[in-house]
Symmetry: C2
Subunit: 198 residues, 2 copies
C-alpha cells in the first residue's frame, strides 16, 4: 500500500520561498512583504490555506477568525475551502459600530498598546472558531483574540500561523490556552541576518 | 443558438443579500458587516471575484492592487483566479519599510487625512494594475491609489467595487482618470433608512 502522498505537504514551497525571497534584518525582523503581507502570491496562499484545512481536519469548525490586515488573505481562503464564514478582528473600535467586544493588545513593534474589537453579533456562545494569522512572534495579538472569543462564550479549536518566529515567546504566551497550534514554517534563528528554518 | 447564460451574472445574489442583510442608518450609512467587511461570506466573495474577472476580461492585467483591510478578501480571490500577484496599500507608513510611495487621503467618516503607502519595489513602471475595493463612496481612497500608481509610472486599467453609493460623489471624483469603473451593486438611495438598489 502507498502512503497518501497527494495529501502529504511539508510546506517545502513556503520554506523555499522564505529562504529565497525573505529578508532578515537586524533585531530579529523577517520581511516577507514580497509574497505574504504586502504583496501576496495567491497560489501560494491557497496552498497555505489547504494545508491549514488538512492540519485542523479533526475539528468541527463553525467559523474562521483572523485579525486585520495580513491575516485576511489566508483566512478567506480557509473559509472558502471549508465553506464557513470568516470574521476579522479590527485593530480599532469603529465609530459606526456598537456592542463591540474589546481587548488590549501590546505591540512590541510599535511599543504601545492598541484596542482590538469584534462585533458581539458575530460570535455566538458555543461556537467553535479557528484562528488564522500570518505571524506568530510574541503571541500578543493571538492572546487578544483568544480573550475576545472567551468573552463571547465561544471556543477556539486551534490556531494556525503561516510563519512562527520559534526564537520568540509566542508558544509560551499561548501555552495556557492548551490548543492545537500549527505553524507552517518555524524560523529557528535570524542571527547574523541569516534565515534558519527548523 | 443560445446566449452564454452560464457567464451571465447580474449579481442578483449580492443585491438580494444587501437587501436582506444590509442595514441603512441615518446619514447615508450602509452597514454590510455581516457578509462583506467584518464577517465575510467566502462563497459570495468568490462569486464577486469571478464577476470582476469577467467584467475586466478585455484588459491585460499584471497585478491586482487594493487597500487594507476590507479590499483584501475580494482582491486575493481575483488574484487567485487570474494567477497574478495582489498588492495591498497600507493605511499608514510602516516603521520597518523604506522607499515607500505615499499620498494623502481624506476620510469623510473619520473627518481627517491619513497617509497611504506602497513599497516602491512592488509597482514597476509600465505595469498594468486592476484596483479592487469593497466600497466606492466619495472616491478619495481610490483617487489616492490612482495617485500612487501614477507616481510609480504604472497604469490602472480599471477599478472594481463591490458596492457603490450612487448618491455620493465617487464617480465624479474618479471621472478625470478616464477608466473602466465597475460596481457590482449600485445603491441609489438610503433615504428614510430604506435601501434602494439601481
Amino acid at each position: 500500500m502507498f502512503a497518501p502522498l497527494l495529501y502529504f505537504n511539508d510546506m517545502k514551497e513556503l520554506k523555499d520561498r522564505i529562504l529565497s525571497d525573505g529578508v532578515a534584518l537586524e533585531g530579529g525582523i523577517l520581511k516577507v512583504d514580497s509574497f505574504i503581507n504586502h504583496q501576496m502570491d495567491p497560489q501560494l496562499m491557497m496552498n497555505i490555506a489547504r494545508e491549514f484545512v488538512r492540519r485542523f481536519e479533526a475539528h468541527t469548525i463553525d467559523k474562521i477568525i483572523t485579525i486585520e490586515a495580513s491575516g485576511i488573505a489566508p483566512a478567506i481562503l480557509v473559509g472558502y475551502i471549508l465553506n464557513k464564514p470568516v470574521l476579522f478582528v479590527k485593530k480599532s473600535v469603529p465609530s459606526t459600530m456598537s456592542d463591540m467586544i474589546c481587548t488590549e493588545v501590546f505591540s512590541f513593534t510599535k511599543n504601545r498598546s492598541y484596542t482590538v474589537s469584534v462585533s458581539r453579533k458575530y460570535i455566538s456562545a458555543g461556537e467553535k472558531l479557528l484562528f488564522i494569522d500570518d505571524f506568530l512572534a510574541n503571541g500578543n495579538a493571538a492572546k487578544g483574540v483568544a480573550e475576545i472569543v472567551s468573552k463571547a462564550g465561544a471556543t477556539l479549536v486551534g490556531m494556525g500561523f503561516i510563519i512562527e518566529k520559534g526564537f520568540q515567546q509566542g508558544r509560551k504566551t499561548l501555552a495556557h490556552l492548551d490548543l492545537q497550534i500549527e505553524s507552517l514554517a518555524i524560523i529557528e534563528s535570524l542571527d547574523n541576518c541569516q534565515i534558519k528554518i527548523r
